[in-house]
Amino acid sequence: MSLIDRLFSVDRRWIFLFVMLAVAVPILFPLGLPVTTTGSTRAAFEYIESLHAGDIVWLSYDYGPSSAPENDPMAEAFLRHCFVKDVRVVMCALYPLGGLSLMNASAARVAREFPEKKYGTDYVNLGYKDGPEAVMRRLGENIADAFPTDVNGTPIEGMPIFQGIRTIGQFKVVFTVATGLIGEYWITLVNAQFGTPVIIGPTAVSAPKYYAFLNSGQLKGMLGGMKGAAEYEQLLARAYPAMSEFYHRTRLFTGTKGMDAQTGIHAVIVGFIFLGNVAFLLARRREGRA
């Protein structure tokens, strides 16, 4: 059997083994590869930087466990950024398959890092509501119509965080951490109809679509996939020494940690594509000669 034939008939279990090693080794032995930042993430970060203490923002958990390794770091970096700047945060989940549980866990995790933040005053968790388009349209008229109570069943109307706040139009920004179509709804419904600026944190697979919205000015910024999350974490660590110290102490910036494994898997895939094409071109040349 010639080298070309061997390449064509390589057992896919070898490929699986390389993939596993490319992911597992950097997780077990972190390399600390550098993360460069892109314009869309910087735009998102700078927009939040421009907010003042006391401003209010909306954070929507629009993803499920399947994309949590990509999306969780975005939501948590954004939440940390808001808390460190004393920006108030209203959270909700619009994704049916596990969005609520992820939000509960993520919010609890970050809130523990900021014990001075008071629930109901500095942040609130509104829980899950089905029917994202209808919910968004109701938010444009009266938030309490869509979410009469928070996740614990407490009416939101008496909460200090909602004093003087009635509609989504009064929020400085919506940050939707999204997989699927829900992120697009925030742009086409909330941004277009109520004028609230939107920042999105999509999975890497969905990110290409949102470049069109970025260029049209309908998005203030975007954190594309795990790379976007890692970039935001880096920007946060650079701007706030306390965050940098927190990262070095706890290693809880999971986007930055995940980039090592992601780089490994990209290297393996690019390598196999290269090998496959070398074999393909050699085979074509052989056929041409014959």
Partner: protein
Amino acid sequence: MTGLHFDIGRVLLLVCFGIVPLVGIILGFFAPSLRRQLPLIVAFVAGIVPILSLYIPKAFLSAPGQGMSPRLDQYLIIVAGFALPLGVVNVIQLNTRKVGRGEKGWFFSLVLLIGLFVMGSFGVYGAFSGTGIGFLPNGAPTPFQWMTDWLFQPLQSTIFSLLAFFMASAAFRAFRARNVEATILLVAGVLVMAGRVPLFDLLAYPFPPLKPAAASLTQTMGHLTEWIMDGPNSAAQAGIIIGSALGAMAMAIRVILGIERSYLGLGKGD
């Protein structure tokens, strides 16, 4: 006047979404043709009211909380809520049948049903007991949250991460420079994959003297990737988005006007 407008909107909605479906169900037993006609009226009103409310500034159409359009939004939340139990009923019917008949893969259906009932029971218990489905006041997870953290989330993540293995295998076998178009796609794909991560830094990791050159290459590749995403990709995506939006508009008009009726789920002869 406001009260009058309010009443008009309410009465119209009551007629359309209360009386018409009720009459349709009753008459449907005696006049089967009505089974097709009355849902079309409901769909027409549900579709046309939100559009009219954008262009006709009348209180009975668009007054916050009281107009027909905001009320329809509220109905949509309720209807969407009912869609979830319908899905659950469908899953139960399908899988109990499979288990009952001992069809191929019945064991997986059994596991699915056990998962559905166990997790669903904890969810229902959390809702009715007032403990919720998140965390208890002492910070401990509820049984539902515990199952999410330690079963649902790892299982979903595992299934999704299997994609990486299949993608690598498929990329090796199928991503070939067979013609000009495939070559352009291949080159763009490889550039973006290489430019989105510090690939050269990884390759230079064992060779410290090469690290500055690798960092510079990573920067260059990053800029190239951003150009591809911002330029050609963005232009193509804008075209796709506008095209699909126009398609959605055309489909909406067909549904509103009753030309498209497949959503009624009627078979031949209905």
